[in-house]
């Protein structure tokens, strides 16, 4: 430990600590603009200058490490003058359009000006005029006049996101932030730059000029889009979510969220929603009361029934659904509607911050930026800072966007078994490493058992995280939404329904026609099943063909818990008002069960029944589940897509989603006589072609959510050229 003095107060900190953090430790605030605790120091703004005894000049507290016996002064006349001087410089050319600025009220330039600024400016010449609304990309607009050149945004994209798309153009007083030549700001992390912008320079198209920050109530929530479970805040005005911000969690997200998580809220008030319970009478869906809806569903589920879903809803709802199914005696239930074998791996469950001190991270077929984007940022950080070894084992190359070793293989499970036996350099490293983190997409039974063997083969610490699931897949699985005692899995239920052997099917939070990886089977099942009930937030093809439609409150309109990839139950609270007919997902389940919809009581029961999910200790891994995703040989590979994993289609996000293409290996393109950008058809799916040399020979890849993707996933994928666009 190092002892130093800050403003006559003795501080003890670790060697390497920066003065600014040492001061913070004893409650002394040093003003900053360019400094950000999650990024490397830049020392550009000069706001944090302090006097360090024995140093010839004032020193930037954000970039000066402490040393033994150092004496720091943060509040002398000289330092105060330096602070005021920097602020006077920054304000000289600042437009001072605070009355219409998105950042007004939470602006670091305003805050520092109040606390440290001169009371008047001496600047009496003409201000610099620059672009007030420069669209850097589909989401972010830059007001160049407000920018104070702190370069937080540039450094975020460079250091944290690893995609240096932003840069400074020109120099001196003409210096402006802009995208690099021939680039647009299309990163899936772009919104973070808006949040860390200390002034109102970077703004988002959905929020620009929509609200004043001081009018917004903040509600703690959790992102509903992927199993990372980033902590977020809903900014709410008059019952409407106006924006989403991060809520820095040391263990999970470090204050970063992806754009899907940040901008997917517009549908709450401005998208198409299911508004009231509807029952099919005389072939038409007609409004019914909740009492009638619940009683019809309860009655129909008494027979030979099944239920699908749970990964997108609260843990509370998953738990109560399990209770309800036990009550009516059905064993047919499966949360795995999308391609998934298990949301929990064998062996100890990993924690996201295992990345911090793992020696080796093996990624098993995970397309990280699509499946668990924010996890990629932490991996990059420790790869960059301490050379974390990362290996990608997959039939595909290029799945990770940070430096890593590729172990391309047609058989991930076999390769993992070989590694577990110490084969090759990776195998040796695997056995020797103190701590290994396995990251898995959760798709195949083979890999599940290979992970079990790999964990058993090691004497050191080993943990596994499943990235390829939904926000509450872990919770749904832990709550028992899996077939048991000979019950049917998702495919089994649909096959039984298609064969006329299922009386009723309840689907929660999924559009099985577009999501279950065999659309034909889903369609047959819907056709044949005598009673189909669909609970959800938005209309879909499946709700259109349902016999009973049950409208649910969205996550932002409801209280509940999601259980993330670590098995950590995280609470979210209702921030948005909701349509009067909507009910919480757990409320629907409580009504089905016939118990009082008393949230506190339900939560207490869940906390007691599923205590490990609420405990601080590391969770234990799962037994091999029954059933699950069974890919068809010769079919397309199921690619992930962060833009299609969410609970709902959001109007704004849909407007910015890049057009998805079908990716094929070069040999497939050649055999089909098609080239890049040509229009092709793959088992009914029409899309532009992308020839991807990172795919293994013969491979065709379609992304989740692509219209018709499910067909391609269940038939031998034949690529047929339609129209030439490559010229």
């Amino acid at each position: 430990m190092i002892t130093l003095t800050v403003d006559d107060r003795e501080v003890q900190v670790q060697p390497g600590t920066l003065i600014i953090d040492a001061a913070k430790a004893v409650g002394i605030e040093i003003p900053v603009f360019c400094y950000h605790p999650r990024m490397d120091p830049a020392a550009a703004c000069r706001m944090c200058l302090v006097r360090v005894e024995k140093m010839p000049k004032l020193m930037p507290a954000c970039a000066t490490p402490v040393s033994e016996g150092m004496v720091v002064h943060t509040d002398t006349d000289e330092v105060q003058k330096a602070h005021a001087g920097v602020l006077e410089f920054l304000l000289a050319n600042h437009p001072l359009d605070c009355p219409i600025c998105d950042k007004g009220g939470e602006c670091e330039l305003q805050d520092n000006s109040i606390a440290y600024g001169p009371r008047a400016t001496r600047f009496a010449d003409s201000k610099r005029h620059l672009d007030k609304a420069r669209a850097l990309g589909p989401i972010v607009e830059l007001d160049q006049e407000r920018c104070i050149q702190c370069t937080r945004c540039i450094r975020f994209m460079d250091e944290v996101a690893g995609d240096p798309v932003l840069t400074v153009h020109d120099r001196g007083g003409h210096a402006v932030i802009d995208t690099a030549e021939n680039r647009t700001f299309d990163s899936i992390f772009s919104g973070n730059t808006i949040e860390i912008c200390p002034v109102g320079a970077l703004t988002s198209r959905p929020f620009r000029f929509k609200a004043r920050p001081w009018d917004l109530d903040e509600v703690d929530s959790v992102c509903p889009h992927c199993p990372v479970g980033c902590n977020i805040k809903l900014s709410v005005r008059h019952g409407e979510v106006k924006r989403i911000l991060s809520r820095d969690s040391e263990e999970i997200d470090w204050g970063w969220i992806c754009d899907r998580g940040r901008f997917g809220y517009g549908f709450l008030k401005h998208g198409e929603r299911l508004e009231q319970p509807m029952l099919r009478k005389d072939g038409k869906l007609a409004p019914v009361s909740w009492d009638e809806a619940v009683s019809v569903l309860r009655e129909r589920m008494q027979g030979n029934s099944g239920a699908l879903g749970g990964g997108r809803h609260s843990l509370e709802a998953a738990y109560l659904l399990r209770r309800f199914l036990d009550q009516v005696g059905t064993k047919n239930v499966d949360h795995r509607v999308l391609p998934l074998y298990s949301a929990i791996a064998p062996g100890p469950v990993g924690r996201i911050d295992d990345v911090n001190d793992a020696d080796l991270l093996i990624s098993l077929d995970v397309e990280l930026l699509e499946e668990a984007p924010v996890l990629a940022l932490r991996m990059r950080e420790f790869q960059r800072k301490r050379g974390l070894r990362i290996v990608s084992v997959s039939p595909r190359r290029g799945l990770l966007d940070m430096p890593h070793q590729e172990a391309q293989t047609p058989d991930v499970a076999a390769t993992l078994r070989a590694i577990a036996q110490g084969e090759g350099d990776i195998g040796q490293e695997f056995l020797a490493a103190q701590k290994v983190l396995l990251l898995w997409n959760g798709r195949s039974e083979d890999v599940f058992s290979a992970i079990g063997a790999a964990v058993a083969a090691r004497s050191g610490e080993t943990a596994t995280l499943v990235a390829g699931s939904l926000a509450n897949s872990f919770g749904a699985q832990a709550a028992g939404l899996l077939p048991k005692d000979g019950g049917l899995d998702a495919r089994g239920m649909l096959e039984a329904a298609a064969a006329g052997q299922l009386d009723a099917l309840l689907v929660i939070g999924h559009d099985i026609l577009s999501e279950f990886p065999d659309a034909e089977l889903a369609a047959q099942a819907i056709e044949k099943v005598p009673f189909l009930a669909v609970a959800g937030t938005v209309p879909s093809e499946t709700t259109g063909r349902a016999d009973l439609v049950l409208p649910l409150a969205a996550w932002a309109e409801s209280d509940g818990h999601f259980v993330n990839m670590e098995g950590r139950a995280q609470p979210y609270a209702a921030g948005s008002d909701r349509s009067p007919q909507l009910v919480d997902d757990w409320e629907l389940m409580a009504r089905l069960l016939g118990i009082a919809p008393d949230y506190e009581a339900i939560l207490a029961e869940v906390q007691s029944a599923l205590a490990p999910l609420f405990a601080a200790e590391r969770r234990q891994g799962a037994e091999a589940p029954e059933g699950g995703y069974r890919p068809v040989p010769g079919a397309a590979i199921a690619g992930a897509s962060i833009y299609y994993k969410g609970v709902t289609p959001d109007p704004f996000l849909n407007s910015i989603v890049p057009q998805t293409r079908v990716a094929v290996a070069p040999d497939v393109a050649e055999a089909a006589g098609a080239a890049e950008d040509d229009e092709v058809e793959v088992s009914g799916l029409r899309a532009a072609l992308h020839v991807d040399p990172d795919l293994p020979p013969g491979a065709v890849l379609v992304r989740a959510g692509q219209e018709g993707a499910n067909h391609a996933l269940t038939r031998a994928a034949e690529v047929r050229a339609l129209a030439r666009r490559s010229e």
């Binding site: 020392a43 000069r46 004032l58 970039a63 410089f89 400074v168 120099r171 001196g172 003409h174």
Partner: protein, 426 residues
């Protein structure tokens, strides 16, 4: 008071830029001696013994700078800073354009001394002709085995790569130079780490000025001990000075440090003021250093004496202002330069130079206001020592001293609403 020509010894020899002529005048003997008869350590020791100090502006002892390289087996680089951009300074340019082989020999010998196989010469963007001259000279040197995979059969590889900058003053700052050389934006890096431990491409790197590296050639020729006898103990050797402004005989002069005064340089070597003029001030070390008034002209030209006089030897760019030179206009001209050249990375330099320039422009145009001079002085306080790199301090060197030394002339601009020197300003 004569010059002491060591670096400029053969500068006027016709054809000295060609290798044959250069060799006829003893060229490449120092390099030959170094790589064939001396160990790298002993070459470095000669430079240490010579007491040579960096000629780029900061005056840091060269031998010590070299000794900071960690002995950890990593690849090392030598970078020659030929981004000579300090206003008033044109010594490196003359050396490069007229006697390129002296620089190449100095670079090769220094690369040998520090254990670098690759050396880079970073030329300022405007030195396009110099680039062509050096390119041809390096080709000549390579053909004769002074540069290449096996220098003079010693088994040592020394390669020299030329790089032309894009025209930015800031790239004379060594870490900005390294960024630019790596193809990045030319702006300074946070230090530490210093280039000696993490320089070009993150490797241990020495960055030396053209004149510094050229001086290694005579040091090896005469021996470090002999060289150190030139000049004074702390300011050893000779130094090139570029004299510009209103003098009869402007140009580059090489003098022994500490043995010549500023007055002798300007009045004798550079011919003194124009007919009927009086010199009212001299900026002795390039446009970044405080002005000296006539009462200080007898200061000896060396690092310590100029520091004691409140200014700096800097790059040796001596700018002469006479009684027809308007101090406001001269300072404005320099401030336009610094405003234009500020990289924009840090607040006080980016905003401060813009602001100072606007106010000076206003005063020069007769639109000065009461309080402007006090404000200018205070803005200098808010810049000096507060910026990320020395450019901020450089930008205010002349202004700050000028406000003190020529306060009446400044005040007259404001009071009279025009330049008191009227139309005679040149």
């Amino acid at each position: 008071m004569p010059e002491t020509r060591i670096l400029f010894k053969h500068i006027d020899v016709p054809g000295i830029d060609r290798i044959d002529v250069y060799e006829q005048h003893g060229g490449y003997q120092s390099l030959r001696k170094a790589v064939l008869d001396m160990t790298p350590e002993s070459v470095a020791q000669e430079v240490m013994t010579s007491n040579l100090r960096g000629r780029g502006g900061a005056g840091f002892p060269t031998g010590r700078k070299w000794s900071f390289l960690p002995k950890d087996g990593r690849t090392r680089y030598l970078v020659c800073n030929a981004d000579e951009s300090e206003p008033g300074t044109c010594k490196d340019q003359e050396l490069i354009y007229k006697n390129p082989h002296l620089l190449i020999e100095g670079v090769a010998a220094s690369a040998y001394a520090i254990g670098a196989e690759d050396a880079f010469i970073y030329l300022r963007g405007e030195f396009k002709v110099g680039y062509a001259i050096l390119e041809r000279a390096i080709a000549e040197a390579r053909a004769k085995g002074y540069v290449g995979d096996d220098v003079l059969g010693s088994g040592r590889r020394i390669e020299i790569t030329l790089y032309l900058g894009a025209g930015a003053y800031i790239c004379g700052e060594e870490t900005a130079l390294l960024n630019s050389l790596e193809g990045k934006r030319g702006q300074p890096r946070l230090k530490p780490p210093f280039p000696a431990t993490a320089g070009l491409y993150g490797m241990p790197t020495v960055v030396n000025n053209v004149e510094t590296l050229a001086a290694v050639v005579p040091i090896l020729e005469m021996g470090g001990a002999e060289y150190s006898k030139l000049g004074s103990e702390k300011s050893a050797g000779t130094k090139l000075f570029s004299v510009s402004g209103t003098v009869r005989n402007p140009g580059n002069f090489e003098v022994e440090l500490n043995k010549v005064t500023l007055r002798e340089l300007v009045y004798d070597l550079a011919g003194g003021p124009l007919e009927g003029r009086e010199i009212k001030g001299i900026i002795p070390g390039g446009s970044s250093v405080p002005i000296l008034t006539p009462d200080k002209f007898d200061v000896a030209l060396d690092y310590e004496s100029l520091a004691a006089a409140g200014t700096m030897l800097g790059s040796g760019g001596v700018i002469v202002l006479d009684d027809h030179s308007c101090i406001v206009k001269s300072t404005l001209r320099l401030m336009e330069f610094y405003r234009h050249e500020s990289c924009g990375f840090c607040t006080p330099c980016r905003e401060g130079t813009m602001w100072l320039d606007q106010v000076l422009e206003r005063i020069e145009a007769g639109l000065g206001r009461p309080g402007d001079l006090e404000m200018l002085a205070d803005l200098c306080v808010n810049i000096e020592g507060r910026t990320f790199c020395p450019l901020g301090d450089a930008a205010i060197g002349v202004l700050k001293s000028g406000l003190e030394l020529y306060h009446e002339e400044y005040q007259a601009h404001i009071d009279q609403g025009c330049c008191p020197l009227g139309e005679v300003v040149r």
